[in-house]
């Protein structure tokens, strides 16, 4: 294997990840109201004056950071003349899907790191490929810089991060979990590189790690447990100065979140304080959304990978000596969330990339084990490589077969019908059956009123259209009030007022 071949293979993995995300972009429907109403709709509301304001935003338990980020792109697109809300929403989904390719990069770097660290063990030393030499039991490829050593683990982890179906599905959803996961995964992987680096003076990288850590925690404070894990990793690696830089940089970034709250909510860290008060002091989320048992997340993770989770766990356990920080952070995130009553699967998004990188690093290392030394069956490198590839494919197939469904399911037909109404030139107002399971004013693309169904509203001449389930009582009431069906999408119909 030459550097060129490794680069080509990595490029192919990136392309694979990109194709998977484009497929997700086309096939994946919105499935959580929050992906619109918490992170997109506030930005659209601020820009156009029209929007649905959720209680979280009225109570001020959300930071403007992520809506501000999305809003900057929205403002740019509006300036460029794109006024279609659906178009803006789709471009933002594409943008997040592309950004999520950072996980492939993190997988490459993280998997390589784990493999390098595992490869230092004499038992796991690689047999040199043709034309290559070995140095201290670590494979050295001709022309491959030291960072690329451990490429087997890098490729395995990158492939898993690129194609793991659940990650691919969630890469097109505009959640804070995704944004935070990208930052924290990159931060952890680069922190591992800081631990490994000789000489240790990597202050620019430490600065970047701190910024990513601060950003990730600021975007999703529930992932804050990653910070102590990262700190312990640097401490154990005796990277004290780098740790100081990381702490300073992350605190500086976190302070920016505080200042943003000061500007928007008139109080330093106001949204975080209110969030903690609501969720942990008042128990508001549990009362509002209900509670699930402690083991729910573990059951859900098992449901997503019923055969493969044991393989992932085994690979993580075997490589734990070198990838413990990644595994500990993943387990800590799920563990913390297990104690919270209100549970949704997306809350533990961060678990997957960390575990996939740790496991991928070990699987790749195993595939590249030396024929000599103490290696047991299989002794043939080709057979070992084939087995490792089969394990990776098996994990992806298992994940693919069980990635369907979700704890929230929004009917895409209602979104299609809402967007259709938004395109009508004679629209003056929309009455819809369900304001929560649509795409808000962004998806509507118009600033005209859209209001939840009440039979009294049918008398209001301002409302030209009604969106309801086919054969529902609401559709019948609308027909009786002088509306007629003009469009249908799946289980939904759009009725239009007959005007003289």
């Amino acid at each position: 294997m030459t550097k060129r071949k490794v680069t080509l293979a990595l490029g192919a993995v990136f392309v694979l990840g990109l194709v998977a995300r484009i497929i997700a972009l086309v096939s994946e429907n919105p499935h959580h109201p929050d992906e619109f109403f918490q992170y997109l709709e506030p930005a659209w509301h601020h820009l156009t004056g029209a929007g649905v304001e959720t209680w979280e935003w009225r109570r001020g338990v959300r930071s403007w950071a992520l809506p501000g980020y999305n809003g900057a792109w929205m403002a740019l697109l509006l300036k460029l003349g794109l006024h279609s809300g659906v178009g803006v929403a789709r471009l933002l989904r594409l943008h997040w899907a592309l950004l999520s390719l950072a996980l492939v990069w993190a997988g490459w770097r993280g998997g390589s790191l784990v493999a390098r660290r595992l490869g230092a063990h004499p038992q796991l030393a690689s047999e040199p490929p043709r034309g290559a030499e070995t140095r201290e039991g670590i494979e050295t490829l001709p022309g491959v810089p030291s960072r690329d050593r451990g490429w087997q683990g890098g490729l395995a982890a990158a492939t898993l991060c690129a194609c793991f179906p659940w990650l691919v599905r969630f890469s097109v959803h505009t959640f804070s979990e995704l944004a935070s996961t990208l930052c924290l995964t990159v931060a952890l992987v680069l922190a591992g590189e800081l631990v490994e680096a000789v000489p240790a003076r990597r202050y620019v990288k430490a600065l970047f790690v701190g910024a990513m850590l601060g950003l990730g925690v600021g975007l999703r404070v529930q992932y804050g447990l990653v910070a102590p894990v990262l700190g312990i990793w640097l401490l154990v690696g005796r990277r004290f100065r780098q740790l100081a830089v990381v702490v300073l940089a992350s605190v500086a970034v976190l302070l920016l979140f505080g200042f943003l709250d000061l500007i928007t909510w008139k109080s330093f860290f106001a949204s975080y304080v209110r969030y903690v008060q609501f969720n942990f002091v008042e128990g508001g989320a549990d009362a509002f959304f209900g509670t699930l048992p402690m083991k729910w997340y573990w059951a859900q993770l098992f449901h997503r990978l019923p055969y493969g989770l044991a393989v992932l766990a085994l690979a993580c356990a075997l490589g734990l000596r070198q990838s413990w920080a990644l595994v500990l952070a993943a387990v800590a995130v799920v563990g913390l969330h297990s104690f919270l009553g209100h549970k949704e699967e997306r809350f533990v998004t961060l678990f997957w990339p960390l575990v996939l990188i740790a496991a991928g690093g070990y699987i790749g290392t195993w595939a590249g084990r030396a024929k000599a030394d103490h290696a047991r069956w299989p002794r043939s490198p080709r057979l070992r490589l084939s087995l490792a590839a089969a394990v990776i494919v098996g994990l992806l197939v298992d994940g693919g077969l069980h990635c369907g469904g979700n704890d929230f399911t929004l009917p895409p037909a209602r979104f299609a019908a809402q967007a259709w109404v938004g395109r009508q030139a004679d629209l003056t107002g929309l009455i819809y059956d369900e304001p929560l399971y649509v795409g808000g004013y962004l998806w509507f693309g118009r600033s005209l009123p859209q209001v939840q169904f009440k039979s009294d509203l049918l008398d209001n001449p301002l409302f030209s259209h009604v969106l309801a389930r086919r054969d529902s009582n609401q559709a019948r009431l609308a027909e009786r009030a002088g509306f007629e069906v003009v469009h249908s999408a799946g289980d939904f119909v759009v009725l239009k007022r007959r005007r003289p």
Partner: protein, 201 residues
Amino acid sequence: MTSSLGGSRSHRRWPRLRWGALALVAGAWLFGLVCFALADGHFEATLPRQQTPPAHVHNLSSWQYGPTVRASSYFGDWGNHHHPMFLVDGKSTPDLVEKWASGAQDPHPWVEVLWREPHNLERVVLHHAGVVENSALTLRRYTVACLTAHGIGPALHVEDNQDSVATHQLACTQVRGVRVKFEPNDKNDLVRVYELETWGQ
């Protein structure tokens, strides 16, 4: 030698291109961020015209004539969606939802109704919260002003309104619309108005 030099140039070019592309994306995003930060969040929408206004005195801001409504904000809950367009729906017996209410964080609420053509305004009629809700919610202090082609025109300051349906004589010639600036009765109150009629021809 040539090949080596070419390779070195290409090695220098790629990082430059990469940083250039990154700077371009960051610049575009920063431009968007400035636009986003400068947006004041006001509402504006225009209804499609359903019919041509008559020649005699009529409600110029009726939804049928395709007015433009602007507002500093509105209370846009899922269930209680008090959209500014309710100001011009002309409904005589409105439901509690069918009103404009200002946003919870709006310290200086205002609304504007703009007509498609200039008209001669005679009077402005405001249907306050007292029409449907507790009369204490009816607004006491506000300013009604005509909107001319050059900005704010003749205005009327109301200091102690007690009427649920308040009629204010305000004669303006060839104006584009009206603007009403409200002072909430209490600084934590929302402004609630069910209808804003502008009569003229």
